[in-house]
Symmetry: C2
Subunit: 297 residues, 2 copies
């Protein structure tokens, strides 16, 4: 008692259409006995005849009629699978769940979205903005497909592609614009406002100041670069922000921007995804798009 097969359904459909075993068989490009046997087996499986074998013609039984209706429906859906796969292959990536860290998202995303959807029309794009550790976890767990963040990640199961380097700039109160640009040493002694724990950008800024990550600091922590810049604007201290944030963040507060001398503090922006992701090719295309957007900022 084996299961009904698609082959049997197709043969039966042909038989119903032609009303003749021989014709149906040649329509299926098989011999007549092959079709006869399959129909017989199908009827045995169903426990009742599908066709009435008359001497002059083959006619469907009432059961055969209703069975045919169902079979036709099923076969149509099965054939649709092929078309479905074919169309999906064209678009390939249907859904992209992209993670981005908060110190990139507001500055890169607005333009990036336009370019990505131009490159992948019809793409269902989901953006997840959170801190690097969580992005990594979600990436590994398969809850997101790729992420834009600061390299390196050094996670062996993830592929990382560097996109572009980005300098950090010093943000000071506007009335300090004339002062000389501090070096790392001098910066360490200033009142440096930083993002709260967890942001990779905080660590990167701290490492520039050659200050241990866990050293006690008397600075204030902000939850976003916007907050930090506004705090600078009211004279609470100075801060560092990435180059790409300058245009957005420094227009609405009395602050001045100063670039460091070499060696500048910087970070490498990159894209990561699972090594095992079958969408790697598409991710490379997206990384190119993101690189262009980042470089023309």
């Amino acid at each position: 008692m084996r299961n009904i097969t698609l082959k049997q359904m197709r043969y039966f459909q042909a038989l119903a259409r032609h009303g003749h075993f021989g014709h149906a068989a040649s329509a299926c490009a098989i011999s007549q006995p092959a079709l006869s046997v399959q129909i017989r087996d199908l009827e045995a499986e169903l426990g009742q005849p599908l066709v009435e074998r008359g001497p002059r013609q083959v006619r469907l039984t009432a059961f055969g009629e209703s069975f045919l209706a169902r079979v036709t429906d099923i076969l149509k859906q099965v054939d649709d699978l092929g078309d479905f796969a074919r169309s999906a292959r064209g678009a390939m990536m249907q859904r992209l769940r992209l993670g981005i860290i908060p110190t990139i998202a507001p500055y890169l995303l607005p333009r990036l979205i336009g370019h990505i959807t131009a490159e992948f029309p019809g793409l269902d794009l989901h953006v997840r903005e959170t801190l690097t550790p969580r992005l990594i976890t979600e990436l590994i767990d398969g809850r997101i497909d790729a992420a834009l963040l600061a390299l390196p990640i050094s996670e062996p199961s993830l592929t990382e592609v560097p996109l572009f380097e980005e300098s950090f700039v010093l943000v000071r109160p506007a009335d300090e614009a004339d002062r000389p640009i501090p070096d790392a040493q001098a910066l360490a002694e200033m009142r440096l406002l930083l993002l709260e724990e967890g942001h990779c950008f905080r660590d990167q800024a701290l490492s520039f100041c050659q200050t241990g990550r866990n050293m006690p600091r008397d600075g204030l922590d902000g939850s976003s670069l916007t907050t930090l810049v506004q705090m600078v604007g009211v004279g609470l201290g100075v801060t560092l922000i990435p180059e790409m944030a300058v245009r957005v963040e420094t227009g609405s507060a009395p602050v001045s921007v100063a670039r460091f001398a070499e060696p500048q503090p910087k970070r490498m922006i990159g894209m990561v995804w699972r090594n095992s992701s079958p969408l790697a090719d598409q991710f490379y295309r997206i990384s190119e798009v993101a690189k262009d957007v980042g470089l023309t900022a």
Copy 2:
């Protein structure tokens, strides 16, 4: 490039459910390589990966997700086919297209319908009332499934089952009730009203009178037994009607009924169907029902 098989769909469904090749394989009661190969072939057929093979778990791709939805739907319908066949097997006959000649239909059908639907609950019963030759044609063409008519038919492709014999009775004007009952010879010389050409009952009546079928007659032809009886009632002649029609037809006209001496004119009522009909068993049951109804008339 062979077609997608149900087997592949089932394996894929199991793989999606378990997220693990080995577990899915044992759930399908096959070995892991067998499942791996089928999934690989399926992906090749579709032109894109269905699952992302990670080191720690197997995850569906976005395409795999939507493919799974379709596959699940199809498999459900396929499995329903089995249930469908099983339930259909219980009822067996779902539709009965029954042909009946006009000289039987009005007298047998009213009670017969009740008995048949009692025997086959839920049966979709269609009745076709027309002359024997057309019934035979429609039967052979498969437009009806069985017929109740007067035997013999002598059509080799049809199975005929005799149900019961039925005598013909003489219908005379009521004021002739006292006259002696004519024999066949005397009847031939009376003004005999008959059904129009094509009714087998006409031929049977004529053969009783030992009159050639094509012999010119000066009698009148009616299109139904009712018409004939009414014509007798107004003195236009005499007629023959089958026993089963007496109760229905003779109440509304001033006529008398007389039974012939042996050998009585009679006809054999029977049921016929195609030799090749798979419903033969059911037809035998129906013929028993019809016989009971006819005999208890």
